[in-house]
């Protein structure tokens, strides 16, 4: 072809959007047709030339991807046929990948739910959690004294603060009394979180005034489980500790970072509170434009003022502050989850190496077939693409099976997760998790198909035809050795990690508890404290049950405790413990 003009060079550039095979077949013809059409349209005028370029651009945007899809369709058809012809290979590869992708999807669903998902509060990026600390007493992350909190509220210029105190209450309405975790908090709390009620209203400033009508809010879960999700709950009266409260609203499940289900406004009597009595938890909302550092400097300055003003109670007391995100999802939790994700990532890599090895072995047995296809005119890049397509098809099939495994295993995993893992119970195979799995599938497919593709591209037609299916090439053998070495290395990493974990667990089991913990049995009868305290006579049936239990079980002794000394799980806040484990009379027996 004669030297190309600028327009022809430009058109050839546009033709790059088409698949290589299409260009091999038609590029020359298309350039000729373009040259003649351009000459014709130039004779008509600039409008016709512009229309032509518009058509060519549309071709590149619409038709060229269509041609790619066409080639992909053919490759997929070929790959399906090829896999159907090798069912044992296909099953092994798909099952291996399904386990790898399934494990990664399941663990990522937890990582996403716990560590990656944004907090469900409008103001999450400005929320901070505040504690008091005393370095000289080696106390940090400690509850806040209410008089200090009141001083902060009056003096802080960079943020608003709201306190809460947790506990548990016995709720009496028309049905059976129930024990629920409760929280009393400052009325600003909801405004700071930007929470909106499902029904009714949240608290108003007038609700915390002394003498105001006693009102309460319930969480969505309590509304459904105890009040039948009826709309008439607003205005319903419930009795708590002998005092009637009117329910004024229902708040959504994810609207507050607390596990309580029953909320009342916090009524503070400053005269009754002592500055050295640390009983409250505090959350802060940075005012717009204020940085975290500015807010920390501000509250540190206020703490120093209070230390100077009230040395008897505040000497040595300072401030601990973190973002609400770091409070809810602590850094060690995030680190542990990412380590776990890394471990299942290693499992996936081993699965990839296994499938790559299988594909290389298969490529060796198909060498003659490939050589024949090349000899009768199949382009080398087409064969490479078909191997890659086969790999991607395996990855998609394995990935789909893996996602099904994840759908089945994630609900099971939620049951097994530690109870103190924040937001772990919200793990689901959501859209971002599926996107992650899709990415894993594609990367996996390319990762294990690239070795056999390289082996295909590097093979020599004549040698392959002569050798037939006698074995694999040197390059393929080297690839398989590299893959085997990588598998051993990854398996060693996992083995060492698992070994260290077992060792840590053994050490943990040998830690001294400080009391004799063997030989005790615990029975939780779920009897609430409130009525028992009020009517001591009701203890009598328990005493009788204890005696019967002792006789039947052959115990040497038994007694009642109000709270267990050791809780399952660890909690950063003492008050959080109480919300998670409603106070009940418990019977301990030996």
């Amino acid at each position: 072809m004669a030297r190309l003009t600028l327009a022809e060079r430009l058109y050839r550039l546009l033709l790059r959007c088409y698949p290589g095979e299409f260009r091999d077949d038609y590029e020359g013809e298309m350039l000729l047709a373009f040259r003649e059409r351009l000459a014709h349209d130039q004779g008509i005028g600039m409008g016709a030339v512009l229309r032509l370029w518009g058509q060519l651009l549309a071709d590149s945007i619409v038709r060229a991807p269509g041609e790619h899809l066409d080639v992909l369709r053919q490759d997929l058809r070929y790959a399906f046929r090829s896999l159907r012809g090798a069912p044992v290979f296909a099953f092994t590869a798909i099952a291996t990948l399904a386990l790898g992708v399934g494990a990664n999807t399941a663990i990522f669903s937890v990582v996403h739910a716990v560590a990656l998902r944004p907090l469900p509060y409008e103001t999450a990026d400005r929320l901070v959690r505040i504690w008091e600390k005393n370095d000289s007493l080696a106390i940090d992350g400690f509850a806040v004294s209410l008089p200090n909190y009141i001083s902060w509220r009056e003096r802080l210029r960079t943020m608003d603060v709201a306190a809460w105190r947790g506990g548990s209450v016995t709720l009496r309405s028309t049905g059976d009394p129930i024990r629920v975790a409760s929280v009393a908090f400052g009325v600003d709390f909801f405004r700071m979180l930007g929470a909106q009620p499902v029904l009714g209203r949240t608290f108003a400033p007038s609700d915390e005034a002394a003498g105001a009508e006693r009102v309460a809010l319930v969480r969505d879960s309590l509304w459904r489980s105890h009040f039948g999700a009826g709309p008439r709950i607003v205005g319903t009266a419930v009795t708590v500790a002998g005092q009637s409260h009117t329910i004024v609203g229902v708040i959504p499940e994810s609207s507050v970072p607390l596990t309580a289900e029953f909320f009342t406004p916090m009524r503070i009597d400053p005269a009754a509170e002592q500055r050295d009595n640390h009983t409250a938890s505090v959350i802060g909302l940075l005012r717009p434009g204020v940085t975290y550092e500015q807010a920390k400097q501000d509250i540190d300055a206020v703490a120093r003022q209070l230390e100077a003003e009230f040395p008897a109670s505040n000497k040595g007391w300072g401030i601990d502050m973190s973002t609400v995100y770091d409070w809810i999802v602590p850094e060690p939790t995030r680190r542990a989850l990412f380590v776990l994700l890394g471990a299942v990532g290693c499992v996936l890599l081993i699965a990839c190496a296994n499938v790559a090895n299988l594909m290389l072995a298969r490529a060796a047995s198909r060498k003659r077939e490939m050589a024949v296809r090349m000899a009768i005119g199949a382009a080398r890049r087409r064969l490479v693409r078909q191997v890659l397509t086969e790999g991607l098809l395996l990855a998609v099939l394995g990935g789909t099976a893996g996602i099904l495994i994840a759908y089945w295993s994630v609900p099971l995993m939620r049951e097994w997760l530690p109870t103190n893992l924040p937001r772990g119970d919200e793990a689901t195979v959501s859209a971002p998790v599926l996107l992650f799995s899709l990415g894993v599938c594609l990367i996996t497919g390319l990762a294990f198909a690239v070795f056999p593709a390289m082996a295909t591209s590097g093979s020599d037609v004549i040698t392959s035809l002569k050798d037939g299916s006698r074995g694999s090439s040197t390059a393929a053998t080297r690839s398989r050795h590299v893959l085997a070495a990588a598998q051993v290395a990854l398996a060693t990493i996992l083995l060492v990690g698992a070994g260290l974990l077992v060792q840590s667990l053994r050490h943990l089991q040998r830690v001294e508890l400080g009391f004799r913990g063997c030989g005790y049995h615990h029975r939780d009868d779920g009897v609430t404290t409130g009525p028992l305290r009020q009517t001591g006579r009701r203890l009598e049936p328990l005493r009788q049950a204890l005696a019967a239990d002792r006789r039947l079980a052959g115990r040497s002794g038994s007694g009642l405790v109000e709270r267990r000394a050791v809780w399952r799980g660890q909690h950063r806040d003492a008050d959080q413990c109480r919300w998670r484990h409603p106070s009940r009379i418990r019977i301990a027996a030996k």
Binding site: M1, D25, L32, L56
Partner: protein, 119 residues
């Protein structure tokens, strides 16, 4: 195994407009790509101007469907740089079936009074 030609023809109907235009252009003999483009433009008074992408994308599919074939030896006076195409017997039958389908539609349009009959 015998081919069910009628079923194959019906599976292709309605024919893509570009396919039908190309079959019409090749109806009176073999042509190269640009000649097909030119013929379509001439017959339609310039209203239909195929782009090279549409033309060669269609040619590729029509070759795969067996509607047209490429000449292996050049036609008399042919430009050696070009590739020439002609309709196959199957392509002619498909074109006839498409023409009948369109005629039937046109007849129905006449009968319903939607389109006036030619005087």
């Amino acid at each position: 195994m015998t081919r069910d030609i009628d079923a194959e023809i019906h599976a292709l109907l309605p024919l893509a407009p570009a396919f039908f235009q190309i079959l019409i252009a090749l109806g009176d003999g073999e042509r190269h790509g640009y000649s097909v483009m030119q013929d379509v433009a001439d017959r339609t008074g310039g209203r239909v101007r195929m782009s090279p992408g549409t033309l060669y994308g269609s040619i590729k599919r029509m070759l795969a469907e067996g509607l047209i074939e490429e000449l292996t030896t050049g036609a008399a006076g042919a430009d050696e740089r070009r590739r020439y195409y002609r309709t196959t017997k199957f392509g002619r039958r498909v074109a006839a079936a498409e023409a009948a389908r369109i005629s039937s539609l046109l007849l129905q349009a006449h009968e319903s009074g939607l389109v006036p009959r030619p005087s």
